[in-house]
Symmetry: C2
Subunit: 209 residues, 2 copies
């Protein structure tokens, strides 16, 4: 049985999205990050920094959204499904997932940290314009290779698209302007039925709404 630990509107949506694309059964448990549950003993035993998502399956406890998405696609997906079958094809997916997380997402995370996520005394709002500049720069690098036609890494929708579309949407939420073609690509990814189901599962449970 698969258990996914997550929190609404966080990186855990990436993992739920992949689970829904794969159509596998899973138990989704909300970790109440607002109430400090992430830093509680039980969750720190799952994630050494108290974050989400965390995946449990059998003996495996896994953190980091890219590793979870890739594992799920490899373990539960068809060959050439969400992950290419060839070593080279997988390497291209890894390359883009790493680029998205370390170049495109980091400026957004810097914005989030210095707006609200860091302890008050660690926030330096003066860094926000630089973060915005870095996001646009990373977007420019994406555009040098990917114009929004087709899919990011190969000729099928892959976990690299999950990462890019989710991160672009985060950018839109943070009021960044996207080039039209990349925004169209983002909307095309975000209109997938699996994501609609994922968003439904991702919602806070009725009791806490």
């Amino acid at each position: 049985m698969i258990t996914l630990y997550g929190f609404p509107n966080s990186r855990s949506l990436r993992a739920v999205w992949v689970l829904e694309e794969l159509g596998v059964e899973y138990d989704y448990r909300h970790v109440d990050m607002m109430a400090g549950e992430g830093q509680g003993e039980a969750h720190l035993a799952r994630h050494p920094d108290g974050k989400v998502p965390v995946l449990e399956e059998g003996e495996l406890t896994l953190f980091e959204s890219t590793a979870i998405c890739r594992y799920l696609a490899e373990r539960h997906g068809e060959p050439d499904g969400l992950l290419p079958a060839s070593i080279e094809g997988r390497a291209r997916v890894d390359q883009w997932m790493s680029f998205v997380v370390s170049e495109l997402e980091q400026p957004l995370w810097t914005q989030a940290k210095h707006k609200f996520a860091l302890p008050q005394e660690q926030r330096v709002p003066a860094v926000l314009p630089t973060a915005a500049w870095e996001f646009q720069r990373a977007l420019g690098a994406v555009q040098r290779r990917f114009d929004g036609e087709g899919w990011l890494a190969g000729d099928r929708f892959s976990v690299a698209d999950v990462l890019l579309a989710h991160t672009l949407s985060w950018g839109v939420q943070f009021k960044h302007r996207l080039p039209e073609a990349l925004n169209d690509y983002r909307k095309r990814c975000m209109s997938r039925p699996a994501l609609a189901r994922a968003i439904e599962r991702d919602k806070p449970v009725a009791e806490t709404r």
Copy 2:
């Protein structure tokens, strides 16, 4: 034939290290980042943001150090060599590589960017103390799972150790204090003969010294 594009004292050392661990033949080409060669047309055709490392092998052009290290280990390594053979074992390696790059390395990169790597007008030195605090926090998270005994992801030296040891060394270079056990682990990794050979290859060519 494998060609690796790199620059001394950069993330490209990770890829050279893995190449030397694997004992495969490769051509190492220096991209003169100080002279702006990274942003030249030829290198931008290899890397959309003009960075290193970049790996070329046959039809494949690959960027992002984690993707390159993983690809090399999978394509050229023994099963259960630098990369575990099982899907679960590989997922643990992916998890730690992602954690190292996105949590442990990013504060160091933030320090580098705001000290020298960003254009002058984008630097915000006020963010440096927060970056130092974030590095120590990420180090604390590593320690919750890994005390420096044995290896990071499984019972063998893997590409995850290449990433962690290289990043810890970057931390030492930036005058961060490491817990003694993690520093001993770092030294144990850094004393591998393959790394000594990699550092030799990584040096600037004689003409440009």
